[in-house]
């Protein structure tokens, strides 16, 4: 069983630069055709500082942490049996290419279902920008299957 004493554990914060090239590449990969995602001049003409960070790209930026396996290692999770169960975003303000975003992650909950056959780890993340403004909150639930 995953050790529940890690509930509330805060991971080391990290900062990520939002690269415009990555934003254009992501927009192409998922088919975002609105020019605010690919054309900086168009984004600025629409009143934005630069290219917009799309709604789910915060999850990708969160993976830029130096050690994405840190929670897995900390909780001794087996990579092979992990599933991404849920993902949620709450948005407070837009983020843009050129921003430097800070990610503060915390293990919000650890629980199990079906008599331990399924174990869940909920991670909460707060994202702020280089002006210390709250940008977004993320909630991630991963599921470890423990087949009997």
């Amino acid at each position: 069983m995953i050790d529940k004493r890690f509930i509330g554990h805060a991971m080391p914060a990290f900062e990520v630069d939002v690269e415009k090239g990555r934003l254009r590449f992501f927009a192409k990969a998922v088919g975002l055709s609105d020019p605010v995602y690919v054309d900086e001049a168009a984004a600025q003409a629409a009143g934005h500082a630069s290219l917009l960070v799309p709604p789910t790209f915060f999850f990708c930026l969160e993976m830029e942490s130096g050690n994405v396996a840190e929670i897995r290692t900390l909780l001794n999770l087996s990579y092979k049996n992990l599933l991404h169960g849920e993902q949620a975003f709450t948005y407070h303000r837009l983020a843009y290419g050129g921003d430097r975003l800070r990610f503060e992650q915390r293990i919000a909950d650890i629980y199990d279902k079906k008599g331990g056959e399924l174990e869940f780890v909920m991670r909460s993340t707060i994202v702020t920008n280089q002006r210390q403004q709250l940008v977004a909150e993320l909630k991630n639930v991963i599921v470890q299957r423990n087949p009997k």
Binding site: F26, A29, V30, L32, T56, C60, H84, T90, L94
Partner: protein, 143 residues
Amino acid sequence: MMIMMNQAAFDTVQVGDKPVSFTLPPLSRLTLALYCGASGDHNPLHVDIDFARSSGMPDVIAHGMLSMAYLGRLMTDWVPQSALRELSTRFSEMTHVGDELTCVAEIIGKMKTDGEPRARLKLTVTDQRGGVKLQGEAVVALA
């Protein structure tokens, strides 16, 4: 947050409305490769069939977050991103190469939060057989 002019209006939006939907072309390996690079999720299970087979899978499976990105696109096709307040989903079933994904949004509630008119939407991603891949929700600000 800034309210944009082309935002949906509170009075004209009704519970049960399906204001936006789309069906994507069959999911290609190229799309999975592009998403792998663009997202930074380099898990070989999504792009390397040799790895997938060695793990006992018949083929690669799509990134769940690719489908969630389509839900984000569904919302920003309808309202400016500055109006998006929440986006969430559960991942129910695996998505495979060749699947034709349909994304649909349905209004399930209207409310005012901190004085701001908002709508809650149910979001679904289904495949060509009607299999539900993602079940999500969004909250958007209305004008």
